[in-house]
Symmetry: C2
Subunit: 393 residues, 2 copies
C-alpha cells in the first residue's frame, strides 16, 4: 500500500527542519533497478519552479534513479540561487547513492518567492540517504514516512497500490490539498512499479491516466508552479506488463489518489462530482464541467446546501460555442439525483435536493452528442477563505 510495494524500490522520510512545525519534510524514493525507466507529467503553468525546470532536464533521457521531495518551500521565483539549491540537492543525493545527479528528480512544495535553506536540505539528504540504505527502507513503514514527509496542509498521507495477477505491482503516494494551501499548495505524486515497461510506454500510460484523473480535479481553479507526477519503473518483477492492463490499473490508482486529494481539500465541506453527459466530445464535456467547477457563485451555493441550478446554467453559458456545442435552452440538470431543470425550465422543486452530506453529484445533460466526462471539485467555504488568507510567512 505504498511506493515500496513494488520490488526494487526503497523509501525514506526524514525531518530536515524546513517545516516550522518540525514535522517530516524530506522524502526520498530510490529505484534499485534493474530498469531505471520513468515518465513524468509537469505543471502546464508557464511560471515553473526551479525543481520543475531541473526535473524537465533530467527527463530528457527518460532515466531516473531517485526522486527527492521536500515540503516547507516551493523554491519558485527564487532565481539562480534557487536553481543552484535544486542542483545541489540532486548532487547531494547522487553522491551519497553513487548515482548520476542527472538521474535525480527534485520536487519542492511550499511558499513561492523564498529561498530554501540549503544547509538544512543537505543535512536532510544525509539523513534520508542513510535511512534508505537500511533494510527497513523497503518496508511499508518507510513508504508511509515518505508519504508523510511530502504533506503540507494535508491532514492525512495519501497512498494507493495495485497488485496484478500477472506478477507486477504498482505503488503510489501523493500530497496536495486541492491547490488550497497557504502559499499555493502543490500536487506531488510518486508512482512506482516493478513491471517491465519502456519509458515510452510509461509515458503513454501516465498521460492517459492523468488526463482523466488529476487533470479533472479542479478544486479551486488555481494551477501550481510545482505540480509533478512521476512514474518510476524498476522492472524488478521480471514480468513484462500488458500495456492496456497496466494503463487500466494506473488509471485506477490515479483516480483513487485524485479522490483522496479532493476529500482532503483544505476548507472544503463538500466533494462535488460534476458529470457532463451527451456532449459532442470528451473535451467539450470537460470544458462545460470545468466552467461550472470554477463558478464561485455555484461553489458558495453548494456550501450553503443550496441546489442553485441557475448558477450551473449561467456558468455553462460562459463556455464559448467553439469549445462546446449545445443549445443553452435544451439542457437538463440533476443535483443529487433530483431533476431540477429539464430543457432549460424548472422541473422538480429544489427543496427535494438534500445537500447535507459531503458527497454531491451534478449531472448536466447537454443533449448534443454521446460523450461523457466527470470533473471533481469542492465547495467554496469560510474555511477556504480563512486558510488562504492567513499571513503566509
Amino acid at each position: 500500500m505504498s511506493v515500496t510495494l513494488p520490488a526494487g524500490f526503497a523509501a525514506a522520510g526524514v525531518t530536515a527542519g524546513l517545516k516550522k512545525s518540525g514535522g517530516l519534510d524530506l522524502a526520498l524514493v530510490q529505484n534499485l533497478g534493474p530498469l531505471q525507466n520513468a515518465a513524468t507529467v509537469f505543471t502546464s503553468n508557464r511560471c515553473q519552479a526551479n525543481p520543475v525546470i531541473w526535473s524537465t532536464q533530467v527527463m530528457s533521457d527518460g532515466r531516473v534513479s531517485a526522486i527527492v521531495l521536500n515540503s516547507g518551500g516551493a523554491n519558485c521565483y527564487t532565481g539562480s540561487i534557487g536553481f543552484q539549491t535544486t542542483h545541489a540537492t540532486a548532487e547531494a543525493v547522487a553522491a551519497r547513492l553513487d548515482i548520476s545527479s542527472g538521474d535525480v528528480l527534485v520536487c519542492s512544495t511550499g511558499l513561492i518567492g523564498e529561498q530554501l535553506n540549503l544547509d538544512l536540505v543537505t543535512a536532510g539528504v544525509l539523513d534520508a540517504t542513510t535511512a534508505i540504505k537500511t533494510d527497513a527502507a523497503t518496508t511499508p513503514e518507510a513508504g508511509l514516512l515518505a508519504a508523510q514527509a511530502i504533506m503540507t496542509t494535508d491532514t492525512r498521507p495519501k497512498q494507493a497500490a495495485h497488485e496484478s495477477a500477472a506478477g507486477w505491482s504498482i505503488g503510489a503516494m501523493a500530497k496536495g490539498a486541492g491547490m488550497l494551501a497557504p502559499g499555493l499548495a502543490t500536487m506531488l505524486v510518486v508512482i512506482t512499479t516493478d513491471a517491465v515497461l519502456e519509458s515510452a510506454e510509461l509515458d503513454t500510460a501516465l498521460h492517459a491516466a492523468t488526463r482523466v484523473t488529476f487533470d479533472r480535479l479542479d478544486s479551486d481553479g488555481c494551477m501550481s508552479t510545482n505540480d509533478t507526477v512521476s512514474l518510476l519503473c524498476s522492472g524488478a518483477s521480471g514480468v513484462t506488463a500488458d500495456l492496456t492492463e497496466f494503463t487500466a490499473a494506473l488509471i485506477d490508482i490515479c483516480r483513487d489518489l485524485t479522490l483522496q486529494l479532493q476529500g482532503d481539500a483544505e476548507g472544503a465541506a463538500h466533494d462535488v462530482a460534476i458529470t457532463v453527459t451527451n456532449a459532442v466530445s470528451d473535451d467539450e464535456a470537460v470544458a462545460v464541467a470545468r466552467a461550472v467547477s470554477r463558478s464561485n457563485l455555484f461553489k458558495s451555493a453548494i456550501f450553503g446546501n443550496d441546489p442553485n441550478w441557475g448558477r450551473v446554467l449561467a456558468a455553462a453559458g460562459t463556455v464559448p460555442v467553439k469549445d462546446a456545442a449545445f443549445d443553452p435552452y435544451g439542457i437538463d440538470v440533476a443535483i443529487n439525483g433530483v431533476q431540477v431543470c429539464t430543457a432549460g425550465e424548472p422541473d422538480q422543486p429544489r427543496d427535494l435536493v438534500d445537500l447535507t452530506g459531503r458527497g454531491v453529484t451534478v449531472l448536466i445533460d447537454l443533449h448534443a452528442g454521446s460523450e461523457t466526462a466527470t470533473l471533481w471539485t469542492n465547495d467554496l467555504t469560510h474555511d477556504y477563505v480563512e486558510e488562504n488568507s492567513a499571513y503566509s510567512s
Copy 2:
C-alpha cells in the same frame, strides 16, 4: 446627477411587490424625444434571460422609446411562460405610454429559474406609467427613485452625470454588486443623453466605453445571464455632439459607475486595481490581469492583508503563450507601490506592503511591449461566501 438630467427624459421608481423586502422594485425611463435613438450592450453569456432575448429584438431597428426594469426576479430559464411575461410587460408599458411595444427595452434582475408574478409586474407598470406622466418625473428625485428601484443587494444607488460646455449632457444609473448577489446579481445600466447622435454613433461610443470600463470589472469571475447596458438618446438639446468628445465623456461616466459597482461589491473588503504594463497589446495586458483577478488564492491573500506576489505570478503563468507574450522570469510586481518582485526574484521585503486600507494596486510589468491596461476586482472574503451561500429562496 441622474438619468433625468438630460432634456427629454422622464423616470419613475415604484413598488410592485416583487421584492420580499417590500422596497422599490420597478423602474421606468421614458425617452420623450424628439430622437429615439439607442444602443445597447448585452451579456455575452450564451444562456440569456428572457428580457435579454426580447430586448435584442427591440434593438434590431436601433429605436427605443422606453426601458422598464425590475428587480426581484431574473426571468431567466423560465421558458415560454417567462418570455410571455417579458412580452406582456413591454405591451403594458407601450399601451399606457401610447408607444410601440417593439420600442420598449425590458431588464430583469434576481433569482434564476423562477417565474415573475405577471400580475404584480402589470400593477407596477400601471403605477410607474402614472408617475412618469407627472411633472415630477423629470426631476432628479424621480431619477433617484428609478436608481433605487433597480437595486438588489446594492447598499446604495449608483448614478453619474456629465454636462458638456457644448450644451448637451449625459445622465446614468447602474445597479450590480459585482456579480456577487444571491441568485446571480446582474449589472444593469441605463445611460441617457440629449445630444444629437445617430444610433450607429451611439453604438460605436458605447462599445468603446464598455470595453475599457464595465468589461474590465471582474469582481468574482462570474458572468450574468441578464447584463444589459443601454444608452438612450433624445436629442432634446438640439446640439450635435462631437463624437470624440462624447465618447470621452461616456468613458468617464462608465468608469465612474464601474468604480461605484466595485466599491459596493458584496462582501468585499478591498478594491483591487490590477494594472499590467509593457504588454504587447491591450488585449494581452487584460488577459494577464484577468487571470490574476480570478485567482481565489490571490484574492484570499488580499483579504488577509498578505502581499503574496507568488500567487500573482502563478496566476499570470496560467495564461497561454498565444494570449500573452512574456518571459515568466522577467516579470516585475509591485503591490501598493512596493516593488516586491523584480525579474522574477524577490526584491523589497513583503512586510513593507501595507494592505490595511480598502484600495489596493497591483502593478505587473511584463517587459514585453508598450501597452497598459487596468482591470478592477475585489478580494475573496468570509462575507462573500456567507452572502452567496445563504439559501436563495
